[in-house]
Amino acid sequence: MKKWKGAIKLVDKDISEKKAKYLQKQNLVDFIVPIISIIAGLIVGAIFMLIIGAEPIKAYIVLWNSSFGSLRGFGEMLVNTVPLIFTGLAVAFGFKIGLFNIGGDGQFLVSYLAAAYIGYMFQLPMYIHLPFALVAGIIAGGIWGGIAGYLKAKLGIHEVITTIMFNYIALHLVGYFTSGPLKAEGPLPATPKIFDTAKLPRFVPTMRIHYGIFLALAVAVLIYYILWKTTFGYEVRATGQNPDAAQFGGINVARNMVLAMFISGALAGLAGSTQALGLEYRAYQPFGFVGYGFTGIAVALVGKGHPLGVVLGALLFGVLSRGAMMMQSMVGVPKEVIEIIQAIIIMFIASEYIFKYLARKWRERKGGVADAS
């Protein structure tokens, strides 16, 4: 065999063990950034606490104890965590197909209402009624997200704008129904109470934590399974990473976008349905967004878009949220500090690009010809 000596343009070295190891280190960086961001957030939070004369260490101890110091506290913390697992999964699933679902709060609300509606409109045995109500919630949230997916896939309209719009439409729509046609008799601005057969059981009557936590964890596992063990999940991930290659591989990009946004909306919706069926037992007129949708974004970012990470992230924000009330009453730290911490965490994670950018610049200056990217 004679050697090739032609008009070679590009020189391309074979990958050595060194480069493979370097890239593996990259993945390690991906892991460290969320941790650094959380620490940074806590530090900034501590600074704000110092400004108002509170003691950060004491405050953070209260924060910890409020969730892990007692069974009751633990339960309350989980109450906050459940919806965050769902909205975090919703945003994460959207990320997987390359879309940004900011519509969690709206999907939450329509699902909240739909579940409550089924809950009081029908009277059926529990093993039918509860699933029925949950399915209604899933479909409602799914449609709310799916429409945005359709508009993006077919008309190219940015999903961020549409999902924000849909948030407000949901807010007012649900507001209308809960104060008008579906309002219960009496002074309460809410739908009638749901039947017992539609309620998510509680662990003990004295604590608010309900079986929704099982559902949340099960759904997290399910999402993991879907994404990495099914053909659909494969297509979703492929489309999100490289739509051109996905198309080349015969994948129907548009169809997958709509389906993925439906699922994303359904997930956020489950946060709402479990709220109605497990906690409030009716749909109250909303006076603003609860904010689980937005927090879900932070959860998904911290969890790096992976279901396990999302659960841990939800746990983190659940602890922060639970701790907020306690820190305020016991140490005098305003609960807004939690929001500040949250924002700092997101900022730092967004700044991941800064780290990578600076690292790249530094390498370039040292190396001359940069690595083949």
Partner: protein, 308 residues
């Protein structure tokens, strides 16, 4: 009847004013190619700053402070999105969350109350002598909070800047075809920074109009989505000052309608449908049902050189 109409139009102008201002800001930013989701947060911080400024000094100092702080926050957004090429949506969302947190925090810290600040001195109203006496129009335009007049003037000024000056031409070129602008020596990055900081100016002003214009105090989360409605007005108005103004007026009208529904006897339309109207209209505008609304071509894409 006439009194109702006057009240309606007058309220429309007032409710539309924060939207007009914020929409103008969003417009400049997006015209240069940067999405500014953080209008909501900057507005909120602006509202707080204006209130605090009025509390400690005077209303107009408050306005000045609001505008300056707005520009600073916008500069941070610009730094992260433009120079560090972070995702513009994530960065903007972080600012919004931060704004909610810090205003609540400071509210508690400085004023000891979690829900709202004490009443402060607002900017009052301006009277226009001759117009005031004309029926209906006088009631609407004759005496209003200064922000209304400022907003209307700024619409004209923005139009002039954007479409009549070299600066405006260059900003638009950067948003439509940054490579073309670069090829004639225009500093794309610099222009984008300026445009984003300008949007901070407007959003800060919009916030001031809320806390010491429409009201005379700061309420927690008082921007309540207006920043997003302003974006909707901008889109609906096809990224032009006059369009944004008209859209904002339309949205303000819906708002005024639902506020005065009881007094003017409009009870058959549920108030929530009026509240929903701006958002539905925006989506329809985007889908092209009400005329195609296309953003500047390079909107949202970081400009990366060496991709010629």
């Amino acid at each position: 009847m006439l009194a109702n109409l006057t009240a309606l139009l007058s309220t429309t102008l007032r409710m539309a004013t924060p939207l007009i201002l914020a929409a103008l800001g969003g417009m400049f930013s997006e015209r240069s190619g940067v999405i500014n989701i953080a209008l909501e947060g900057i507005m909120l911080i602006g509202a707080f700053t204006a209130m605090a400024g009025s509390y400690f000094f005077s209303p107009w100092i408050g306005v000045l402070a609001a505008v300056i702080v707005g520009m600073i926050i916008a500069a941070a957004h610009a730094l992260v999105s433009i120079s560090f090429r972070a995702d513009q949506i994530v960065s903007g969302t972080a600012i919004n969350i931060f704004a909610a947190g810090i205003t609540g925090f400071l509210l508690r810290l400085i004023f000891g109350d979690a829900g709202q600040s004490p009443s402060v001195q607002d900017v009052g109203t301006w009277k226009i002598p001759f117009i005031k006496d004309i029926p209906v129009i006088g009631g609407v335009f004759g005496e209003q909070i200064p922000f209304v007049y400022i907003a209307l003037i700024l619409v004209a000024v923005s139009y002039w800047i954007l479409f009549k000056t070299p600066f405006g031409l260059r900003i638009r070129s950067v948003g439509e075809h940054p490579a073309a602008a670069d090829s004639v020596g225009i500093n794309v990055i610099g222009m984008r920074y300026i445009a984003v900081i300008m949007s901070g100016f407007f959003a800060g002003l919009a916030g001031a109009s809320l806390s010491i214009g429409l009201l005379d105090l700061f309420v927690k989360n008082m921007s309540s989505g207006r920043g997003f409605i302003a974006l909707a007005a901008m889109i609906f108005g096809r990224w032009t000052p006059q369009g944004a103004m008209l859209a904002a007026l339309l949205f303000g009208f819906a708002d005024a309608l639902q506020m005065l529904a009881q007094t003017i006897g409009l009870t058959f339309v549920p108030r929530q449908f009026l509240l929903m109207a701006p958002y539905i209209l925006t989506i329809l505008a985007l889908t092209g049902v009400i005329g195609r609304s296309t953003p500047p071509a390079a909107d949202g894409d970081p400009y990366i050189k060496e991709e010629v």
